[in-house]
Subunit: 234 residues, 2 copies
DNA sequence: TCAAAAGTGTTGTGTGTACACCCATGT
DNA sequence: ACATGGGTGTACACACAACACTTTTGA
């Protein structure tokens, strides 16, 4: 890898320059009623020791989506979850080594599906709340803020938030998932009524058990895949 | 250029592959009450002779935005107009030469500002309505459809459409600009009232002259730069 | 019987929508 | 005077926001 880096970065091109390309993935989940994202600890320079988004270069025969899926599988142990391309970051000095552009993706993962790989202990992958992030490597703070903004607006007109929940869930879980993403309170009754009216969820007939309170009915999504809502939700 | 292409595309990399990067720009304008986009005729293979979006490789020291601005200046003779990154297209077989990804942008240009360069007669740059496009080179049809979708939703919650109009304009012009982008009719009176209520436009006091009908009052935008609307427009 | 969360209805206010008529100009 | 597009006002329906009480469970 180092060989290729040097090769590309030290090339004295008179006219054309082809930058290197990486992918970075913002892996969102809702945990403890909070929107969190997966970070790793960088093992190598640049920014060795800094927290950063999981990412890396493309392998032969991969496009950026495939590479992101591989990273998602490697770091969080999930596949088949919702993921969309976010933006391509291309500041010439975002990487001290030279022009390295990053095509970024964000993924939505239910907390229960995540299996953090413990094989690379040096990387110490962990989740961190997005509302109080430390200083990250490269422009990764900006990337996460962009992803958060996109997610916020997206749950207003699609059922994207569903990808953060397990197959069966209560209205309360759905409710605090939305609150965590938006960062503000929503009226519980209006929210529940709206979702039921839109016919997006169906009661399974089952109920939660084991709580210190009245059991809640479990719901599932009428359609599992992403779709535009017939009318805006927020 | 051909040399660099061969160099990159024939490289036998065992692990990592760095694709080539191009930019393509969707230049929108509203002409004849219709949303149109600038196309060129490809002079060289692949797809020689096919219509295509203006685009090209990056020059040394350019990021993708800068390259897009250069192309916009070269082909349409404008600068300083609204432009935003659209999406990065990365199908491995979108270019028959091998992995060439394209970072795409779309620009909004008032019709009057456009000066099509006639220097490269082989390219025959011209505007074409987006609702009846021919088969284009590469995945450029898909790119334009993506851009159209983005523009459509964007004018619903920002003042982006303003970038398609000159400094002074009538309510009728603003109205058909929205209709052209959305591809459907909007009630004229409700539309006008809404825009005035949002305080986005101010009457200049001037009036149009020379029409065969009652003169229309000319307006200008309260704020020239892009901003989110306080409430959704559509 | 108490705490904790689930579940259910109503009402007022505001916003979108549909719609019809008069006005100013050129010919 | 007539054709053409510019400009204005109203009424109805619906969606949203605000809000309080009852129910079911475990402790």
């Amino acid at each position: 890898m180092k060989k290729r880096l040097n090769q590309s970065l030290s090339r004295k091109s008179t006219d054309f320059l082809n930058p290197l390309l990486t992918v970075d993935v913002v892996i969102f989940t809702v945990r403890n009623h909070t929107l969190e994202t997966l970070l790793i600890q960088r093992a190598k320079p640049p920014f060795a020791g800094s927290p950063a988004l999981p990412g890396g270069f493309l392998l032969t025969g991969e496009n950026t989506r495939r590479a992101s899926e591989r990273i998602l599988q490697d770091k969080a142990g999930v596949s088949g979850v919702y993921m969309e391309q976010l933006y391509t970051f291309d500041d010439l000095d975002r990487d001290p080594r030279g022009p390295v552009f990053s095509v970024t993706y964000f993924a939505l993962v239910p907390e229960k599906d995540i299996v953090i790989s413990e094989t690379r202990t040096t990387e110490t992958p962990h989740f961190s709340p997005v509302h109080c992030l430390p200083k990250l490597a490269f422009d990764h703070n900006e990337i996460i803020q962009t992803a958060r903004g996109r997610l916020r607006s997206k749950i207003g007109y699609t059922n994207a938030a569903f990808s953060l929940l397990p197959d069966n869930f209560t209205l309360a879980e759905l409710h605090y998932t939305y609150e965590a993403i938006l960062g503000r309170r929503l009226d519980r009754r209006n929210f529940n009524r709206k979702l039921r009216a839109l016919n997006l969820i169906t009661a399974t007939g089952e109920k939660t058990l084991g709580g210190k309170h009245r059991p809640a009915t479990l719901y599932q999504f009428t359609h599992r895949d992403l779709e535009l809502l017939p009318e805006p939700l927020l």
